[in-house]
């Protein structure tokens, strides 16, 4: 707990500064104060928690799940076959420079306002980092350990399950922790661009009503949920990787 104290103090100071500036400006449609946002969060609790949060979370969860399956699958394929690696790796790295937000409207043309246009945006934002990070984890396998296993008569399959997978586990957790906020951002952006429900959509609607605190309330909610999710993954990671020295 002591370790986190400086960060906690800094966050508090920033919030106070924000509160001060907002009170000076005194125009909630330009800069709402943190307390105003909290109040709005409470006032809007029913639509936020019952309608829009579940909508965004299902997009995030479905997108993340597909990304993990695809990303890990691709990492395994690249690790198993150098030809696949040489073909895919550069393409994956290059594709990360594509501004997903700019092409997202296209998905709405394809899939309409259904959940899938938003899921596709989250997948595009999270799938590549997951694939690359997990693949790098496989590559970190020590050659000497692999050779030792071979002297015990291990098959390729044994080497994968008993050596490569455990070696890549820390990278897998890093990938998930990185992908959670990305997928939340992806879902919110997609909803902002075109949707009928979801926190991104709600935030945009408040914008048209010049309700500054209403714009911020769903955004705050999103960050809190993302932080919670990352926290849960961190706990699971700690339970799974207790053998690590630095823990």
């Amino acid at each position: 707990m002591k370790k986190h104290l400086p960060a906690f103090v800094l966050a508090l100071v920033l919030l106070l500064v924000w509160q001060g500036i907002a009170m000076l400006i005194d125009a909630a449609y330009i800069l709402p104060s943190p307390t105003q946002i909290c109040v709005r969060l409470w006032e809007l609790r029913e639509p936020l928690f019952l309608v829009h949060l579940p909508a965004t979370m299902s997009v995030t969860a479905i997108g993340l799940l597909i990304s993990v399956v695809l990303g890990v699958g691709l990492a395994i394929a690249m690790d198993a076959n150098p030809k696949i690696e040489r073909a895919l790796y550069p393409v994956i790295v290059a594709s990360q420079t594509i501004p997903t937000t700019a092409i997202a409207p296209l998905f709405i043309l394809w899939f309409g306002y259904s959940i899938w246009s938003k899921v596709l945006v989250t997948i595009l934002m999270t799938f590549f980092p997951i694939a690359i990070t997990v693949f790098d984890g496989f590559k970190a396998t020590k050659r000497e350990m692999e050779e030792l296993l071979r002297t015990y008569g291990a098959t390729k399959r044994d080497i994968f399950w008993k050596l490569k997978l455990p070696t890549a586990l820390p990278n897998f957790f890093s990938a998930i922790k990185m992908a959670i906020p990305l997928s939340v951002i992806g879902a919110a952006i997609a909803e902002w661009l075109g949707a009928q429900e979801g926190l991104g959509y709600f935030s945009k609607r408040m914008m048209t009503q010049l309700d500054g605190a209403g714009v911020f309330a769903p955004v705050v909610l999103l960050s809190i949920v993302a932080m919670l999710a990352v926290g849960i993954v961190t706990v699971i990671e700690y339970k799974c990787i207790q053998w690590r020295k630095e823990l």
């Binding site: 020590k142 000497e144 296993l149 071979r150 002297t151 291990a154 050596l163 020295k245």
Partner: protein, 250 residues
């Protein structure tokens, strides 16, 4: 037990052969060391025996049969312990048995026995990070023992340890060897270690090498460290060191 017959080998990347028409034999239950300057090809001899490299000529026999027809005929222990950090000590020791699909109950039984024998019973459920360098090498040795082979290939297993631990481990290893009746082929660049441990010492001097000088150590088992001070042993040691130094200059 082990026989090299006319074995020739060259790494594809290298211009020069590593060994040409190499012949040597190791008898059942012997403790034989291979010494030579660093980079002369000691580890390569092991890589050929355990099948990580394919020889270009000749044949290696274990118990009279070509190694290509055999499985689990040798157990390799490298210089680094290479324990898997995510496995407990017991799980690490069971790894070769797991790969050989030995039933779980049998694995547990053998693991308990060997942990007892190497004196690490209380570390069974600990992780490698909780052990000292010497203890990790003992675990690695226990894992090698349970790989189900009578021929153990130990590649400089103690060279990363500090001097006092190394001396301890040498005595410990002889004790284990006498207990398990295994055949041990032991690589080291430490002449004194080779003399203290082995019945015979094979010396690699040239590159490429065709044969290895075969030196018998005139000491009986169990060994006593005091014997290393005997005049003939000191002379043997000087002799071997001189040979290695000459081969380095080649």
């Amino acid at each position: 037990m082990l026989e090299f017959r006319d074995v020739s080998f060259r790494y594809p990347e290298d211009a020069q052969s590593m060994m040409e028409h190499l012949n040597f034999q190791v008898e059942d239950g012997d403790f034989v060391s291979i010494i030579g300057a660093s980079g002369c090809g000691k580890s390569t001899v092991f890589r050929l025996i355990n099948g990580l490299e394919q020889m270009q000529g000749g044949q290696i026999f274990v118990d009279g049969k070509p190694i290509q027809t055999l499985q689990q005929y040798s157990a390799f222990m490298p210089q680094k312990d290479l324990l898997f950090p995510w496995r407990t000590i017991a799980q690490n020791i069971c790894l070769p048995m797991e790969l050989a699909h030995i039933p779980k109950a049998e694995q547990a039984k053998r693991c308990t026995e060997v942990l007892e024998q190497v004196g690490l019973s209380q570390y069974r459920d600990k992780y490698p990070k909780d052990l000292s360098g010497g203890m990790k090498q003992r675990v690695a040795f226990a894992r090698t023992l349970l790989a189900g082979a009578d021929l153990l290939l130990l590649d400089e297993p103690f060279s990363a340890l500090d001097y006092l631990t190394r001396v301890d481990m040498q005595e410990w290893l002889l004790h284990q060897w006498e207990h398990y009746h295994k055949t041990i082929l032991f690589i080291t660049h430490d002449v004194e270690e080779a003399i203290f441990l082995s019945k015979r010492i094979l010396v690699i001097q040239d590159r490429p090498f065709r044969d290895m000088e075969d030196v018998r150590v005139p000491l009986a088992y169990p060994r006593n460290r005091e014997d290393l001070k005997r005049a003939d042993i000191v002379e043997l040691k000087e002799n071997l060191i001189e040979k290695l130094r000459r081969s380095v200059n080649v």
